[in-house]
């Protein structure tokens, strides 16, 4: 007896009678065109003298990225190490910085128009950049099948940095693999210093956006722009070394050149060849078994160290060491990104955290987020994030909280929710050394 079928294509999109160009359409869905050396269709010529309405911020900003690979020492006990291949985006203007994972960060000022040039050099094949959380036209959105993938001659992405906040950029080709391989970097958009926005004459050592990584700087909180003293950017990520041995088109669907009679249950040729990977094959992209657990590219337990081991390249990660140090009365801004495929559970011990933004959207800002407000998570109460989500947190320790406070990230298997590993770091609340100021941020 045969059973009724629930079709994969109940609307018969693949039926040539309904859709004569389906075959071509499907080809693009699995194998987008590579366009190299093509101008950005709505390109706005940068004017180096143009300023934003604040009268101080250049209207245009730019960065360029090429693709390369590198090997990195991973560990999960601080003793045994394994050399694991990563891929990443590198700045052409900084040829010395090959050992960066996550990729080199980008920092802009709210309101700027950004031009991001991508080209490939070392890794053959194609990539894209999706500017996660930025919302431009689709040809600048970096999703291959909805625009194009980028070949050797490159493409210049263009968008407006409309809202200050925490974002990231990543490759969107065979994303399941390329994102895991490390093809992502932070993208921070800063609000300009409110003193300068108000047209006040800059004081000595006045901060000007974009701010230095690590702080100090300014961040939006509700309708205000508030100072912070120390900035920690913590990206949780899990690494499956088996996947890191795969080739960059591994298991991708490939288009047929012409119909071959290998039809579906409704009689249509989809124009795609599917590969089938064995269920328990550890190289299958459905079978993710992370062994290393990182914060901002540093594997646990090195995440706890204030000074990385000497055998580790000092350029190991752009934000190492991972622990944050802050004085009582100061403000620590933590930008959290979950770049893991595991379910991540974060616990900040000993310190309440105030959530001021999610996914690059400040809470309680007129008009778009007047339906929400900043709120606090009590010390020791865990919260969860999944892949690509961001929280911006403010922490203001008092003098009674001097000491070392553990920050724990637990990585739970995305299916069974069993704990696969942890990464730990610290927030060290220390009284400032004598003669180094009152522990206050600038401009208060």
């Amino acid at each position: 007896m045969s059973l009724p079928i629930i079709y994969r294509d109940p609307k018969q999109l693949a039926n040539f009678g309904n859709h004569p160009d389906f075959f071509e359409h499907m080809k693009v869905f699995v194998d987008p065109p590579v366009w190299a050396g093509i101008p950005t269709p709505d390109f706005i010529q940068p004017d180096p003298n143009a300023l934003l309405p604040d009268g101080i911020t250049p209207r245009f900003a730019a960065a360029n990225r090429r693709v390369n690979n590198q090997n990195r020492e991973m560990t999960n006990d601080g003793v045994n190490t394994e050399s694991v291949q990563f891929w990443g985006f590198f700045d052409d203007n900084e040829p010395g910085n090959e050992y960066r994972f996550p990729s080199q960060p980008i920092r802009l000022v709210e309101g700027q128009i950004f031009h991001g040039f991508l080209h490939n050099t070392s890794i053959g094949g194609r990539h894209t950049i999706h500017w996660h959380g930025m919302e431009p036209t689709s040809h600048n959105d970096g999703v291959g099948k909805l625009s194009m993938e980028v070949g050797s001659e490159g493409y210049e992405y263009q968008w407006l940095a409309s809202a200050a906040g925490t974002y990231f950029y990543h490759c969107h080709r065979n994303t399941v693999l390329h994102f895991e391989m490390g093809m992502y970097g932070m993208l921070i958009i800063d609000p300009q210093n409110p003193n300068l926005r108000a047209g006040r004459r800059p004081r000595r050592n006045e901060l000007v956006a974009p701010y230095a990584f690590g702080g100090p700087g300014y961040v939006r909180r509700g309708n205000d722009i508030v100072p912070y003293d120390v900035e920690a950017i913590w990206v949780s990520d899990d690494v499956d070394p088996v996947w890191h041995g795969l080739s960059h088109n591994q298991w991708l669907s490939t288009p047929k050149t012409e119909p071959d009679g290998d039809n579906d249950a409704q009689g249509n040729d989809l124009g795609v060849k599917f590969t089938s990977v064995n269920r328990l094959d550890s190289k299958g992209l459905h079978n993710f078994n992370p062994q290393y657990f990182c914060i901002s590219g540093v594997p646990h337990p090195w995440t706890k160290l204030d000074v990385l081991p000497v055998e580790v390249d000092e350029n190991l990660a752009f934000l190492s060491p991972i622990p944050a140090t802050v004085a009582p009365g100061q403000t620590l801004l933590v930008r959290l990104l979950c770049a893991a495929y595991s379910l991540n559970r974060y616990t900040f011990e000993g310190l309440d955290v105030e959530v001021i933004a999610m996914d690059g959207r400040v809470m309680g800002q007129t008009p778009y987020t007047r339906y929400s407000a900043p709120f606090k998570i009590p010390a020791g109460v865990p919260f969860e994030l999944t892949a690509a989500r961001r929280f911006d947190l403010l922490i203001r320790p008092t003098s009674s909280q001097v000491g070392s406070h553990r920050v724990l990230v637990e990585f739970q298997d995305h299916i069974t929710k069993v704990n696969m590993g942890i990464a730990e770091t610290f927030i060290n609340v220390v009284q400032p050394a004598r003669g180094r100021g009152r522990g206050e941020g600038p401009n208060r």
Partner: protein, 475 residues
């Protein structure tokens, strides 16, 4: 394990069946409208089906089915039931499966925060029972599922969504659903909320304030996204054996990832209209949409906001991410978000439902989660003003071809006023380097393992397309 014979049906044989007879009427109604059900005598069956995966593999599954004119019509997810608040629904549930392994039974339940709202008797093969879905449920999104031996039945196909639509005050001129504007001040998908409630504020602002130019939210502008996964190993096992729920949960290793039962191209391009629109008569006490007729894509003009009802029936962790717009979180697990934060910064009563309407580009869907989010369909905010001016001047003609898949357009960098720009009807690849697709975006789970099929085959997983088809008046 022995493969059952029906898994070996050749593609040709099935094709002949499908094409020779025309598709079963359920999948191809001439008008893709939901059917009106009889709320006092609604018949729901439990049956076995084959579920065609995106790579053409047929996987043994279970499904709820509706009896239409005496014909059993399976649906996976089960039929999306739309009921009007205040209307109870009497359901006759029958397990019409073949002789199942001894001891196997199935049922139907809806769980609320404090336990079951509805729970049928467990049914062995051939048995039947009756129960009532009460009419006093709060407006919102509910999940129904096979509660016997959870979560096996739910994950193997016995799941669906119940949407309770609010009733306007009886006797008011808005008693019948218009679809042109919110019927009464303060009206939301959750009924009339008190003054100052953040969900009321949001829905009041849509189409009526400078920051949301365009149209208000209309009741028909909603989609249901049911997320699930398939591990064919267990589907096949279920065809002959009783599955131990513990083994299932420990060893489940999905290879297919679906939204509304479909994947890849067929979930992404899953629409046949130029505007998102659930074709349901909300004035009826009960209507339903079968899985074959679900419209999953977000399609509409800038300024036509869409409510997305996310329900996760599988076991994986999903992280849905919308491109082009962030989404407002308006309800979680059937409870409307409110904004009540005390002076210390903590939610009143410790209840996270008091923490306001977060504006997310990515959110978390754990097994059993329900999240209603509002996709504002606003002009993507990071398009530079110069480009927006060209779009307004006409440099943008995206259209749908007759079967609803998107067409592509020319975007010529030398064209400043858009006068030379014409839509294309040839799909990819573009004929000239100046051609680009325009304002079409994806939603995908950022837990990217979900973007694969059969262990690879990116992007054949849990993905939906979002298409902006023009500008609503006033945008």
């Amino acid at each position: 394990m022995k493969r059952r014979d029906f898994i070996k049906i050749t593609a040709g044989g099935v094709a002949a069946l499908a094409l020779g007879s025309g598709l079963a009427p359920v999948f191809r109604r001439s008008e893709a409208y939901g059917a009106v059900g009889d709320a006092t005598n609604f018949f729901l069956d439990i049956m076995e089906v084959e579920h065609e995966m995106v790579d053409g593999k047929l996987v043994y599954s279970w499904a709820y089915a509706v009896k239409e004119s005496g014909v059993q019509v399976p649906s996976l997810p089960g039929p999306t039931l739309f009921v009007r608040q205040g209307s109870p629904v009497n359901v006759t549930l029958t397990n019409t499966m073949s002789d199942r392994p001894t001891g196997e039974a199935h049922g139907f339940a809806i769980f609320g925060k404090n336990g079951p709202i509805v729970q049928s008797a467990p049914l062995a093969a051939g048995q039947s029972t009756q129960f009532t879905i009460p009419g006093n449920l709060a407006p919102g999104t509910y999940m129904y599922e096979d509660w016997v031996n959870p979560p096996v039945g739910r994950v193997l196909g016995l799941h669906g969504v119940l949407v309770v639509m609010p009733a306007a005050p009886a006797g008011s001129p808005y008693e019948l659903y218009p679809d042109t504007a919110p019927p009464v001040p303060g009206w939301t998908p959750y009924g009339i909320l008190p003054n100052g409630h953040p969900v009321r504020e949001l829905f009041n602002d849509l189409g009526q304030t400078a920051h949301f130019p365009g149209e208000p939210w209309l009741p028909s502008r909603q989609v249901i996204w049911v997320f699930s996964e398939v591990d064919p190993f267990f589907n096949e096992l279920a065809s002959t054996e009783l599955i131990d729920a513990g083994d299932f949960q420990r060893n489940f290793l999905p290879q297919y990832f679906t939204v509304n039962g479909r994947s890849g191209y067929f979930s992404a391009e899953d629409h046949t209209h130029d505007t998102t629109h659930v074709h349901v008569d909300f004035n009826q006490p009960l209507s339903y949409i079968l899985s074959g007729e679900m419209e999953s894509a977000l399609v509409g003009k800038v300024g036509q906001p869409i409510l997305i009802r996310n329900v996760h029936v599988g076991l994986d962790t999903h992280s849905p991410h919308t491109h082009a717009n962030h989404c407002y979180c308006v309800a979680v697990d059937g409870e409307v978000q409110d904004l009540n934060i005390d002076s210390n910064g903590f939610p009143v009563n410790g209840n996270p439902r008091n923490l306001g309407l977060w504006w997310w580009d990515t959110w978390t869907m754990l097994p059993g989660d329900r999240k209603d989010v509002l996709y504002p369909m606003m002009m993507p905010p990071d398009i530079p003003l110069e480009t927006i001016e060209r779009i307004r001047a006409g440099a943008w003609h995206p259209q749908l071809n007759p079967n609803g898949t998107q067409e592509y357009m020319v975007f010529d960098p030398n064209d400043t006023d858009g006068s030379s720009i014409e839509p294309l009807n040839v799909g990819h690849p573009p004929a000239a380097p100046t051609e680009f697709t325009h304002l079409a975006y994806p939603m995908h789970s950022h837990q990217e393992i979900s973007q694969t099929a059969a262990g690879g085959n990116y992007p054949m997983g849990l993905i939906i397309h979002i298409m902006f088809t023009g500008l609503a008046p006033g945008v």
